[in-house]
């Protein structure tokens, strides 16, 4: 296919005069397309560079151990204290809890759509999952604030309904479509022969699904789960609105938390550009960026690890 284009140019013959123009007509678009396409690389490089450039100066103000192990996040008091441990713990706790809720449920939904659902209802189920994924996170955060929080406060007799459980639940809803859709793709790709073999051995559908299909698709499901975790770590509006925003290390599910993302979103607006507080927030951005890049590399590893399906 590639060759064909070149043959035309070399067989110009009597139209040789137009050969030069034609050649330019090929080289220029190719150059433009390639250089525009490269902007993706530039963009990613710029993101990493600017995050590090604005985040690194905080290390002049305080030490890495102070940031990583300090328990006090008081960036504007005098003297300021930049301990990020409670924020990191908040991010970890919310991510963990939401993943525990959403990953099994998402995989079960995917199993339903790929193996149990009647053919006619498949499209409906997939579209409704997709719509769930289209709900803006600010709307879910609002529901957490205005609907779930007051109920939770009354029913469970808590100090505040804005807490880790509320935010994790909503985060779970938010990452559910990602996990379910991607898992379904890999479950659906499991060859029918695998299922047939299991049925031929006398397996029930339940046994076939959980012992055969799920195992065959485990690689894809692991990827889906990691991508879900990745979204959960980086999600901002839900935790900003529903997690309570107290910079403490959570000990119970009813404790309010302040994950990294919500700290950035809540404080960046009032921070003067170039102040230590500004650099500290960029440092958190670096942390988040590196966590997601690491998870991304993990996904790629799983994807390329071994050719067998």
């Amino acid at each position: 296919m590639e060759r064909a284009g070149e043959i035309v140019i070399t067989t110009g013959g009597p139209r040789g005069a137009r050969r030069g123009a034609r050649k330019w007509g090929e080289i220029v678009p190719k150059g433009v397309v390639t250089s525009v396409a490269l902007s993706g690389i530039w963009l990613m490089a710029f993101i990493i560079f600017f995050l590090i450039k604005e985040g690194a100066p905080i290390l002049k103000e305080t030490s890495l151990t102070e940031i990583a192990l300090g328990q006090l996040w008081y960036p504007v008091s005098n003297p300021p204290s930049y301990g990020m441990l409670p924020l990191i713990a908040g991010s970890a706790a919310v991510t963990l809890l939401s993943s525990i809720m959403a990953i099994p449920f998402g995989v079960v939904l995917a199993l339903f759509i790929s193996d149990v659902c009647p053919e006619r209802a498949r499209e409906f189920c997939k579209v409704s999952l997709e719509i769930l994924g289209f709900l803006p996170s600010v709307v879910l955060g609002f529901i957490g604030m205005a609907v779930i929080a007051p109920h939770m406060q009354m029913k469970l007799e808590l100090l505040s309904g804005l807490n880790m459980l509320n935010a994790s639940f909503l985060l779970g809803i938010l990452i559910l479509p990602t996990i379910a859709t991607l898992s379904e793709d890999s479950l659906y790709a499991v060859p029918q022969a695998m299922r047939d073999a299991s049925y031929a051995l006398g397996g029930t559908r339940c046994e076939t699904m959980f012992k055969v299909v799920l195992k065959c698709a485990s690689r894809g499901i692991a990827q889906a789960a990691i991508l879900g975790v990745m979204r959960s770590v980086g999600e901002t509006m839900v935790v900003l609105m529903a997690a309570g925003g107290a910079a403490i290390i959570p000990l119970a599910m009813s404790d309010p938390v302040r994950p990294l993302t919500s700290t950035i979103a809540a404080e960046m607006g009032e921070t003067p550009v170039g102040s230590p507080h500004y650099h500290a927030l960029f440092f958190m951005g670096c942390l988040l960026l590196f966590i997601t890049i690491a998870l991304n590399i993990l996904v790629l590893r799983i994807e390329s690890g071994g050719g067998e399906k």
Binding site: M1, G5, V8, R22, G25, E26, K30, V33, T34, V36, A37, L38, S39, G40, L43, M44, F46, I47, F50, L51, E54, F105, V108, L111, F112, E123, C125, S128, I131, F134, L135, P136, S137, V138, V139, I143, L176, T204, C206, E207, M209, F210, L227, G234, E235, T236, L240, M241, T261, I264, A265, M268, G269, F282, G285, L289, T292, I293, L295, N296
Partner: protein
């Protein structure tokens, strides 16, 4: 015999449980949508859609944030759409799978996984401060464009891959060069698919809050943004502001639900158009 019964019971139970899970998630989605529609519909009126916010945002309408969101979508797509389609053309038509292509793929994958709030930080440091665009429609739109770029690339690439090989061969056989083939045959055939991907992308961009919070969206603007260097109000940020920063939250409650309903109608409306268009395309293939 009893083991057989047990296994059959387990099978039935698991089927029921799976149906239950799907019903539960569909019910949660339905409940959320129905609740928001029920609470919001009372606030919707022509005045609400067409009036500027008044009296410290406790009265009036939301035409300013609606216009702002539309402007943000336009700016972000003006950046992301050409770049995204061109990148997809590179991947599908020019790339020979060398180191450059691998690096570009890795970059696009990483870009897709950057948390939106981190993109917001990047937008602040790069567009607002380094390029001196300030907190403006341009900065916020470009930041949203960065968010949309990876999705657009993937969608356009799928559309390009779906163009049958025969189309290209026919063009080459008629003496078309590679660029002529791309420009006159491949792109027009892939165009519906690319546009569908673009629409779905717009639906996602319209609801994003975190990337625009510190790059150009503001609590309040007296009127529409008249140039790309003005700051804008945006629907998602307006919801956040009304819900958290209002001094009279009880008084603005109808406004909050009304704004949410308008945002949902916008986002889900655009997305549904994309989903329906995609379903039609798939049928045609």
């Amino acid at each position: 015999m009893s083991i057989y019964l047990l296994r059959r019971a387990a099978d039935r139970a698991s089927t029921a449980a799976l149906y239950g899970c799907m019903a539960l998630s569909a019910a949660v989605l339905g409940l959320i949508l129905a609740f928001l529609a029920y609470r919001g519909v009372g606030a919707i009126s022509w005045e609400f859609i067409s009036d500027h916010p008044r009296a410290g945002m406790t009265e009036g309408g939301i035409v300013t944030p609606i216009a702002g969101t539309v402007q943000l979508i336009l700016v972000s797509m003006a950046f992301a759409f050409p770049v995204g389609v061109t990148t997809a053309v590179y991947f599908n038509e020019y790339s020979r799978g060398g180191a450059l292509t691998k690096a570009l793929r890795l970059a696009v994958r990483s870009l897709a996984s950057v948390p939106s709030v981190v993109l917001g930080l990047f937008g602040l440091a790069f567009f607002c401060v380094f390029l001196r665009f300030g907190a403006s429609l341009l900065s916020a739109g470009l930041t949203l464009g960065c968010l949309a770029l990876p999705t657009l690339i993937t969608a356009s690439e799928t559309a390009l891959q779906n163009v049958p090989r025969e189309f290209r061969d026919a063009s080459y056989a008629l003496g078309g060069t590679r660029w002529q083939t791309i420009y006159k045959v491949v792109l027009p055939s892939a165009f519906p698919g690319i546009i569908t991907g673009g629409i779905l992308c717009v639906g996602r961009v319209a609801g994003e809050t975190a990337p625009i919070m510190f790059t150009g969206a503001v609590f309040f603007a007296p009127g529409f943004a008249r140039s790309i260097f003005d700051s804008v109000m945006a629907l998602p940020y307006h919801i956040y502001v009304l819900a958290t920063a209002g001094t009279r939250i009880d008084k603005t409650e109808p406004l909050q639900y009304g704004t949410i309903l308008v945002l949902l109608a916008l986002v889900l409306g655009i997305s549904m158009v994309g989903i329906v268009a995609r379903a039609r395309l798939r049928k045609r293939l």
